[in-house]
């Protein structure tokens, strides 16, 4: 099975057992590659359970910087007997299967078309370490050493990463290093190395960071001045809360008194969580929550209240596989319609679609400005893939001196100097956004009564048809104002050149879409493309669609929900928009997109 040498382009997968400490070894392995300056895309594929079930860690390494998932496994490190059969089957012909050779591999597991590399992991570990727990842990480092050697990863880099990991426990370094060498030496002594698919230092990483989207969202909220977070645990959003609390503890505690400049409340459910956020922003703080699909469904009634009573809310929806409890540990983009039109009655909510951790940070921060400015709920639409996996991302940025836009809020002074009566829902400036006041601002002026029932411009209850209508018409007008404030789309390749074909995508689909675009180009198909960052759509979105004859809309759900938004909000002829879909719970790949597009082109030609 001779092979041509391939450098910096492979997919390696580790098959482990949930809860056995392999995660940290795998992470260090990935980070070592990253330190070599090579772009990587790690993915955790884990079950909805705590311990004992199969779990996979997959790293795509790509020197060209393509960050989408890629199908086809080049190297599989299989240390979970439960999933052995499936794991071996998943290796691409000509690929490598690294296994624990402490016990002989049964004949039925032998495939003729792949390469087997045995490392007696547990045997080596038992020979060298005494305590059972350590034997378990160092087994993981042993395979790291072995695979690093196979792929030509500089062991010194791995050691550096290990050293950082155990910065506070330097005693652990020598045994770790030893395990690493044990694995490396076994390869060196028994196999020809490196493999034809191997790695090489490069400089494609620059100042990028490797971070998960949820941590970035949490940091965005922290920098944007969120002081109240109310939430209820739900995969895959929980780590936003965790990261927010962790960083607040470090960065938001009054050094003198030890007191906290934030309130972090684990609510009793999602209804309470969003209620607390509404109460807190009504009270004048910046507040937010993070949840996933089932939580958004439960929040629906309250979301309608925030729309109608015009209360700023920031809500992060880290989507997972639906419907219902669905696939809680798999990814999808299937809450588009339920988020955009959440709640009964005529309601619409602005959405932001980050594609990278840097955008998770920036869009979460912007969401607070937009919510305050527009006095409505802004949803940041992330997903499990973006939120819970590490991604190579530009560094997080905060401009020196950047201020919050708290929107139209009357201060005590302004109220004091006001001669006319304060009207909470008066469109004073013509942009359909009224002024609000915080409770407690002024002794005699500016108080008003917030309600979910129909109200006049002075927030008084009214059942009059014309009063109701002028209010909801103003809300529709505010929606127009909103369009002008949302982040604009990003264009790739030759934009708006009245080309025939266009590609439209958003969120995590971006990685694969950009790669697919290049692949198609190689095959002679030139496609303009646009990454949409927000809803309601800025005018550029419609322009792009108008100037192309046929467009492919790529998304990760069954019902082409994003396409629905485009058609419905922009009055686009549906026949122009061709859905490209992936909804099996795995992140979409460039190959999938390319294949589907080619099929559709083929069929239609």
């Amino acid at each position: 099975m001779d092979q041509q040498t391939v450098v910096n382009d492979l997919v390696i997968r580790f098959a482990n057992v949930n809860g056995t400490g392999s995660a940290s070894a795998n992470d260090m392995f990935a980070k070592s590659i990253f330190r070599m300056g090579i772009p990587i895309t790690p993915k955790n594929i884990f079950p909805s359970n705590i311990q004992g079930l199969p779990t996979w860690y997959e790293i795509r390494v790509n020197g060209n910087g393509y960050l989408g998932r890629r199908a086809g496994i080049d190297v599989l490190v299989g240390v979970n007997p439960q999933s052995l059969r499936r794991d071996i089957d998943s290796v691409r012909p000509g690929g490598y299967f690294v296994y624990d050779s402490s016990k002989k591999l049964h004949n039925e597991f032998i495939r003729e078309d792949i390469n087997y590399i045995g490392v007696p992991m547990i045997a080596l570990s038992m020979e060298n370490y005494e305590r059972a727990r350590l034997q378990q842990l160092f087994k993981n480092i042993i395979y790291v050493g072995a695979v690093a050697t196979l792929l030509d990863i500089d062991l010194e880099v791995v050691k550096e990463v290990i050293a950082e990991q155990f910065e506070k426990k330097p005693k652990l370094l020598p045994p770790n290093y030893k395990a690493l060498e044990l694995g490396a030496n076994h390869i060196k002594e028994n196999y020809s190395y490196p493999l034809p698919i191997r790695l090489e230092k490069t400089d494609k990483v620059a100042d990028s960071i490797l971070i998960d989207g949820n941590t970035a969202c949490a940091l965005g909220a922290l920098y944007a001045g969120a002081s109240v977070m109310a939430w209820y645990p739900i995969t895959p959003s929980t780590s936003i809360a965790k990261a927010f609390e962790t960083y607040c503890k470090k960065l938001r505690v009054d050094p003198e008194t030890g007191k906290k400049r934030y309130a972090f409340v684990q609510a009793e459910d999602e209804l309470a969580a969003i209620g607390m956020v509404i109460g807190a922003t009504w009270g004048g703080a910046r507040a937010f929550s993070a949840t996933s699909g089932p939580g958004v469904s439960l929040m629906s009634e309250f979301i309608g209240l925030s729309y109608f009573a015009e209360i700023p809310v920031v809500l992060i929806n880290v989507q997972r596989g639906g419907p219902s409890t669905g696939m809680p540990t798999r990814t999808q983009q299937a809450d588009i319609i339920s988020s955009a039109y959440a709640s009964h009655g005529d309601t619409k909510h602005p959405l932001l679609f980050p594609s990278s951790p840097a955008e998770c940070f920036e869009f979460t921060a912007q969401a607070f400005d937009l919510a305050d400015r527009l006095q409505t709920l802004i949803m940041v639409i992330s997903d499990l893939d973006l939120g819970m996996n590490n991604h190579m991302s530009p560094p997080l940025q905060w401009e020196e001196g950047r201020n919050y836009d708290r929107g139209k809020v009357f201060t005590a002074e302004e109220l004091e100097n006001m001669t006319e009566e304060f009207g909470r829902y008066l469109d004073v400036d013509g942009d359909a956004i009224p002024y609000r006041t915080y409770p407690g601002t002024h002794p005699t002026k500016g108080s008003f009564f917030t309600r979910g029932t129909s109200h006049d411009e002075y927030a008084k209850y009214s059942e009059l048809g014309e009063v109701y209508q002028s209010n909801v018409d103003r809300l529709a007008k505010k929606w127009e104002t909103t369009k002008g404030l949302m982040p604009k789309p990003e264009f790739y390749q030759e934009v708006n050149q009245s080309k025939e074909l266009g590609l439209v995508f958003f969120g995590t689909t971006a990685y694969a879409a950009i790669e697919a675009m290049d692949q198609l180009k190689d095959g002679g198909v030139i496609i303009d493309s646009m990454r949409v960052k927000s809803f309601p759509f800025p005018s550029e979105v419609k322009e792009f669609i108008n100037t192309h004859e046929r467009l492919f809309v790529v998304e990760q759900n069954r019902d082409a929900q994003f396409r629905t938004l485009l058609i419905n909000e922009l009055d686009i002829d549906p026949s122009k928009l061709i859905p490209i879909l992936n909804y099996d719970g795995t992140p979409i790949t460039a190959d999938t997109i390319q294949k589907q597009i080619q099929e559709k082109l083929g069929v239609e030609v």
């Binding site: 906290k260 507040a287 915080y438």
Partner: protein, 350 residues
């Protein structure tokens, strides 16, 4: 449909210490049924706030949905108000309180709003010992949706249509005690003398102050056989104590017979004075409250008054150890870490 209340309704034209007339504490004219118990409670709230010289903007009033939850429009027009959604007032109040710990939060709810759809939020606001006054205007029925039994309707109580309620009642006071609420009281809309100081004490209490107020629904649940009718309640009331609230600045002028009275000092220096009707009564002992309540129930009596107060109450801000300055007053300097910190954070992810 709301009207400005004509001024001649209010003979009290005397300004209180903060310079407000009683009229300054009122709201728009009630649209509830004539004689509805809820209106009496609104009156007691107005009276209580006027008497303790609260600046109206120092209070926020919040409610759910129901006839009872409408009342915040009928008092304190100069306070911010929030008529939220059905059963969810506690979460809104929790958020508002987190944003600004300096205001007094007065939550109004109904028995449907609290004991059915709002049960979860009620329980958890108690668990967090949220600093608020929580009033349930308890009429044993769903007034606004035309009189269905609520979960506080007593077993066997007869509805207007003549049906006997087959379910055990949820006793919100018993529940609050079981859940360790730090201030638990019951009263009656028809007993303003008791109600006004109770509300005042509740506002001084630094934690969850619960007042379950039986408040007859004259339209749907005031018939013979209803245990929440005006006459039934009047006839079966049993009071723990006579009750006085003494704001911090005021001196106590009344003399109480020794042994027959108890005094509880509140967090803000105000005092509650109880001239005890029962000698073994100690308002700071939860267990006796539980037993007394049960005993009264066993005898078909409705125990009113302050049933329990925990003078060491630690509210949610204490539990969370938040800064003294209200969170909504914090600015960029206090909230956003420096740019350099972000660079360090970036570094930690390389």
């Amino acid at each position: 449909m709301s009207y400005l209340k004509p001024l001649f309704h209010h003979p009290e034209l005397k300004k209180n210490k903060v310079g407000y007339l009683k009229a300054d504490y009122e709201g728009v004219i009630s649209t509830l049924c004539a004689g509805c118990g809820h209106d009496s409670i609104s009156g007691a709230i107005v009276q209580a706030c006027y008497e303790i010289s609260l600046e109206p903007h120092r209070l926020a009033k919040l409610s759910g949905i129901g006839c009872s939850s409408k009342t915040p429009t009928y008092f304190l027009s100069n306070s911010h108000g929030f008529n939220s959604v059905h059963g969810r007032m506690p979460s809104i109040t929790t958020g508002a309180n987190m944003a600004n710990r300096n205001l007094i939060y007065l939550g109004v709810s109904g028995d449907g709003d609290t004991a059915s759809i709002g049960m979860g939020q009620f329980v958890h606001a108690i668990r967090r010992n949220l600093n608020m006054v929580y009033i349930v205007m308890n009429n044993g029925c769903y007034g606004l949706t035309k009189g269905q039994d609520s979960a506080t309707a007593d077993f066997g109580s007869v509805s207007k249509a003549g049906a006997h309620n087959p379910y055990q009642a949820i006793d919100l006071v018993g529940l609050a005690l079981e859940l360790n609420a730090s201030f638990v009281a019951r009263s009656f809309s028809g007993d303003k003398t008791q109600l006004v100081p109770l509300i005042q004490a509740a506002m001084s209490h630094p934690g969850f102050a619960f007042i379950d107020i039986i408040s007859p629904c004259v339209t749907f649940n005031n018939n013979v056989g209803s245990t929440k009718s005006y006459s039934h309640v009047r006839a079966h009331i049993e009071s723990t104590s006579q009750f006085d609230f003494v704001p911090r600045e005021e001196e106590i002028t009344v003399d109480y017979t020794e042994g027959s009275s108890a005094e509880v000092e509140l967090f803000d220096g105000s005092k509650i004075h109880l001239s005890k009707l029962a000698p073994d009564w100690n308002p700071t002992d939860r267990n006796t409250a539980v037993n007394r309540l049960q005993a009264a129930k066993d005898h078909g009596q409705i125990l009113t008054g302050l049933l329990y107060i925990n003078p060491d109450s630690q509210d949610l801000h204490k539990k969370l150890n938040t800064v003294q300055k209200p969170l909504n007053h914090l600015k960029e300097e206090e909230l956003t870490p420096e740019v350099g910190v972000l660079e360090k954070i970036n570094q930690s992810f390389r």
